[in-house]
């Protein structure tokens, strides 16, 4: 476990040190950094579980094929949104503060950024899976990514069917993204 955490810390720190203080970075740079993060994070993010959690109880009502299709779309969407999010806070310095273990099988890795003179946190939430540690949610500036997905999905499914959700997931639904 410690090994994995250490690895994550290293990844994060490596990335944050790449981001020199007080310097603006271009959109391409942001995308590159994001890509790099995702390449390194891919093994740590449990996209499958995150997709399931975002759909809550509705996930179980899907067929196997639908589940796969959905999970894939979800992963794409998450990555796209995450990249956009980085752009919003590009000039802030990310620092790893350490972690806390709310439960035996949970670990929250806390990183911080100073935004507008105020200390804000990005928390990577890990859970233990077969002796390994995987990320199941990320709190960005105090807002859970999965929770915001859950709110959107449940609202869509309350009025439309799965296909609509899938279509929206592929096009409309994003986190905020500054329009170019």
């Amino acid at each position: 476990m410690t090994q994995n955490i250490q690895k994550t810390l290293e990844i994060l720190q490596k990335n944050t040190t790449k981001n020199p203080k007080d310097s603006a970075i271009s959109s391409t740079q942001v995308e590159n950094i994001a890509k790099e993060i995702f390449i390194m994070f891919d093994s740590i993010f449990d996209y499958n579980l995150m997709a399931q959690l975002s759909l809550s109880k509705d996930y179980k009502t899907l067929t196997k094929i639908q589940q796969e299709e959905y999970t894939q779309a979800f992963e794409q969407n998450l990555k796209r949104s995450f990249t956009d999010k980085l752009r919003l806070y590009k000039d802030e310095k990310l620092e790893v503060l350490g972690g806390e273990q709310p439960k035996n099988n949970r670990y929250n890795l806390k990183t911080s950024m100073v935004l507008d003179g105020k200390l804000n946190y990005v928390i990577f939430k890990f859970y233990e899976k077969e002796g390994d540690w995987k990320i199941y949610d990320v709190d960005i500036l105090g807002i859970s990514v999965i929770q915001t997905y859950r709110s959107q999905f449940s609202d869509i499914l309350a009025h439309s069917d799965f296909q609509t959700l899938l279509a929206k997931l592929k096009s409309e639904i994003t986190f905020e993204s500054p329009k170019q």
């Binding site: 507008d116 105020k118 500036l141 929770q147 859950r150 869509i156 986190f175 905020e176």
Partner: protein, 811 residues
């Protein structure tokens, strides 16, 4: 009359006539004591004073005020002399105006295009930097052209700070909240002890009085600025309330004075004696002061509606005195050698019963207003019933005691031959051409029935004021160019989410608990519904400025950021309290699980049918949101006011049926004859229904004052009929039916003629008011009183002649 009663009254009159000075001293003490209270009679024209008693919507309205800390505000509008609002000269003027406004102590904040925060008008700054820099139109880093565009398309500013055509700039002025008033209201809500509650209510009233005074001062200072800044207009509900009070006050003084002058002149013309002029005015003044003192002692307030009590009481009182004077003069001309005391005894004894019944029926007319459900009208009812009792008692006491101190007049004035000829003509017409009179009466009924079906209650605040008045011009400009006037509020209440306890999945439980946190309150459903409702409201042609959570979404959208759940949650968590207070708290209440939409309606739009508009909005929203499990409430000043207006017709029916029923019973009691009672009632109801016919056909809306006309007119109009039939029954004992009619016309007809003309001229004075409902009230009452006189002089004798038998009346 029963002799025992007569004996009792005789003793009472003897006491007065034997000791007139003592009686007058006693009256003077009463006058000064109540005069002291009368000086403290408060005037209230707040929107609270214009609500239905027990209106369930008021509870919701009250909760809105509590849950969404609202601040009273005024809107100023200023237009540039040349160019648009961004012209350099105009911006300088606006800056000067802002500096002048800052000198007014009651103003808490000023928002105009000069200090409105801008977010995307500095091309070289990122969003966060713009936020930090607190950019405004005149900041060094601001690109002027970008700023113009941002202001014009800003969801919070357009139609509030800037008109769509750029020709008018709005300046929002927030008034300081009275924290003590808020504390007291809070205290009252938590207090369980009733007597304590009442004590707190008293303090609340005091505090409200202070707020009103402060608002008046602020408005006066703003009006002074109108001299300095040409074309500066003022608007807002606070102004309407303040100006209504000003009108009420000025009307109280103007009509009190002008009515007194007119009455004095007419009395002098009719009776030719200064003593009768002064006597009448003295009695009226006494009644007014004592009644006002009683109202103040009871804790009543004068509202826009009850302000009419001054003129009403004056008129009713004059009519009581005139009947006494006419009777006195009649006795005097018949028995010129009788002593003053005996003349007075005879006058008082003859007039006591008809005067009592006349006052009694007038009181019933006013008491019927208690059934209106509308607080200011109820107050008017109570105030007038009390006033009429005071008038009846003291008219007799003062008339007797003052006259006892004076010698008999040296000469008497008779009605001019022209007037007498007119009365004779009426009597002859009634006797000879009754069929023609009935034909016109039936025509009148048909006219009324047609008109009544077209009665409407459409009232707009803007139209309460004359076209030429400055307040109307200001209200109109702000209404048309700066997003409307009367606020309407929509509340969407979401059900509290029930966490499913059966979820044993650890992750599900974790996210369910997360969901209940405030940050996640702004979820997709709420944002989606905010958009649906906001867009729907905005599309309504009667809706001006619309503000809601969706305005925030648009604002963020304008910045090029997609406002989804995450962004809103992020903003809510990270926004400074001051920003939160501007963009979140007025439109979302997390504790109540509620979204709020505030819109201002175009009050001056002549096609706006308020009731239909509110019903349509309710219906549309319910259908738009039918699958959403949310509760929709439509509220705000507009709804409260509409409830009141809608209640007018039903309360008119209630009060009228009550007053007609009771007056019929009183007629039966007085006349002890069913036929006479029916005839008397018909004589009064016919002119009254004609008024409703006129209202319906002319399109004059029934308003708060108009609704009182029927009861008031019936109450006053009945007097003529009572006096007439009383006299007629006396005459019929010695005369034939037709002679009795001629005699009655000759004697009592003149008193009716005098009183009606005095009343009519008095009400005509009201037509010079600046307040449109007062003008309508004066006009309609004048008309109804003339019709009532005509009905009493023509229809009544015609009916008596056609349907009454002498044998049945001589008992």
């Amino acid at each position: 009359m029963n002799p025992q009663n007569n004996n009792l009254f005789l003793r009472f009159y003897r006491a007065i006539l034997n000791a007139p000075k003592l009686t007058l001293t006693f009256c003077a003490i009463i006058f000064f004591v109540f005069g002291f209270f009368a000086l403290k009679l408060p005037i209230d024209a707040s929107s609270d004073s214009l609500i239905l008693e027990n209106d369930k919507d008021f509870k919701t309205y009250d909760s809105i005020i509590k849950n969404y800390t609202t601040q009273d505000f005024l809107i100023l509008a200023l237009s540039p002399k040349k160019g648009d609002v961004f012209h350099h000269d105009f911006l300088t003027t606006l800056q000067n105006l802002t500096n002048d406004l800052k000198q007014i102590p009651q103003i808490d904040g000023i928002l105009s295009i000069l200090n409105a925060p801008l977010l995307k008008s500095a091309p070289n700054l990122e969003l966060q930097e713009s936020l930090k820099a607190n950019l405004t139109l005149l900041s060094a880093q601001t690109d002027f052209e970008l700023a113009k565009q941002e202001l014009l398309h800003h969801p919070f500013y357009t139609q509030n700070l800037i008109s769509k055509d750029l020709k008018t700039a709005g300046i929002l002025i927030y008034l300081k909240n009275n924290t003590r008033l808020e504390q007291l209201r809070e205290l009252k809500n938590t207090e369980t002890n009733e007597s304590q509650k009442q004590e707190i209510q008293k303090l609340i009233e005091q505090e409200k009085g202070k707020v009103q005074t402060q608002n008046d001062v602020t408005i006066t200072m703003l009006k002074n600025l109108q001299n300095k800044y040409e074309g500066l207009q003022i608007g807002g509900i606070t102004l309407i309330a303040s100006d209504m009070i000003a009108y009420v006050k000025s009307d109280l003084i103007t009509y009190g004075t002008s009515l007194s002058v007119i009455l004095a002149l007419m009395l002098w013309v009719f009776f030719g004696h200064l003593r009768f002029v002064f006597l009448t005015l003295l009695i009226c003044l006494f009644t007014l002061v004592v009644s006002s003192g009683i109202f103040a002692a009871f804790g009543f307030k004068i509202t826009v509606v009850s302000s009419n009590y001054v003129s009403l009481l004056l008129i009713i009182n004059v009519s009581l005195v005139v009947h006494l004077i006419v009777a006195y003069l009649e006795f005097y001309s018949k028995f010129p050698k009788a002593s003053q005391k005996n003349l007075l005894y005879a006058t008082l004894l003859t007039k006591q019963m008809p005067s009592f019944f006349a006052a009694f029926t007038t009181m019933i007319g006013f008491l019927s207003l208690i059934y209106s459900n509308i607080l200011p009208i109820i107050h008017l009812g109570i105030v007038m019933s009390l006033g009429v009792s005071v008038a009846l008692l003291f008219t007799f006491v003062l008339f007797a005691s003052v006259s006892a101190l004076l010698d008999k007049p040296k000469h008497t004035t008779k009605l001019s031959t022209r007037q007498q000829r007119f009365l004779e003509f009426c009597a002859n017409l009634a006797i000879r051409k009754s069929k023609m009179i009935y034909f016109f009466a039936i025509l009148c009924v048909a006219f009324s029935l047609y008109g009544i079906q077209n009665l409407k209650v459409e009232n707009s605040f803007v139209n309460y004021f004359k076209d030429s008045s400055q307040i109307k011009q200001g209200l109109l400009k702000i209404d048309k160019d700066l997003g409307g006037t009367v606020p309407l509020e929509i509340l969407l209440t979401f059900p509290n989410k029930v966490t499913q306890s059966s979820i044993d999945d650890e992750f599900e439980a974790e996210f369910n608990s997360l969901e209940s946190q405030d940050t996640y309150w702004f979820d997709s459903q709420k944002l989606r519904l905010a958009k649906i409702v906001h867009n729907y409201l905005e599309d309504n042609p009667y809706a001006g400025s619309v503000l809601s959570l969706h305005s925030l979404v648009r604002l963020i959208g304008n910045l090029g950021i997609n406002a989804d759940d995450w962004t809103i949650a992020f903003l809510y968590k990270n926004a400074r309290d001051t920003l939160k207070a501007q963009i979140f708290t007025p439109y979302a209440n997390l504790e109540q699980n509620q979204l709020r939409f505030v819109l201002r309606t175009f009050d001056s739009n002549p096609t706006l049918k308020r009731n239909d508009f509110i019903i349509q909005i309710r219906k549309d929203l319910e259908s738009l949101l039918q699958n959403e499990k949310v509760q929709v409430q439509v509220n705000g000043v507009m709804v409260l006011y509409n409830n009141l207006l809608q209640n007018l017709i039903s309360s008119q029916v209630d009060t009228l049926s009550f007053v007609i029923g009771i007056i019929f019973l009183v007629f039966l009691w007085i006349f002890r004859n069913l036929k006479l009672a029916i005839i008397a009632l018909l004589t009064n109801i016919l002119p009254l229904s004609a008024i409703f016919g006129i209202l319906g056909i002319s399109g004059i809306p029934l308003d708060l004052m108009g609704v009182t006309i029927a009861a008031i007119s019936l109450g006053i109009g009945v007097d003529d009929v009572i006096h007439y039939i009383h006299r007629f029954k006396a005459e019929i004992k010695n005369h034939s039916l037709q002679d009795a009619i001629l005699e009655s016309h000759d004697s009592i007809g003149s008193a009716m003629y005098y009183t009606t003309f005095i009343i009519v001229v008095g009400f005509c004075a009201m037509m010079s008011s600046n307040f449109i409902p007062t003008i309508y009230f004066g006009f309609l009452t004048t008309l109804v009183m003339l019709l009532m006189l005509l009905s009493a002089l023509l229809l009544l004798p015609a009916l008596l002649n056609s349907f009454c038998k002498i044998s049945a009346l001589r008992f």
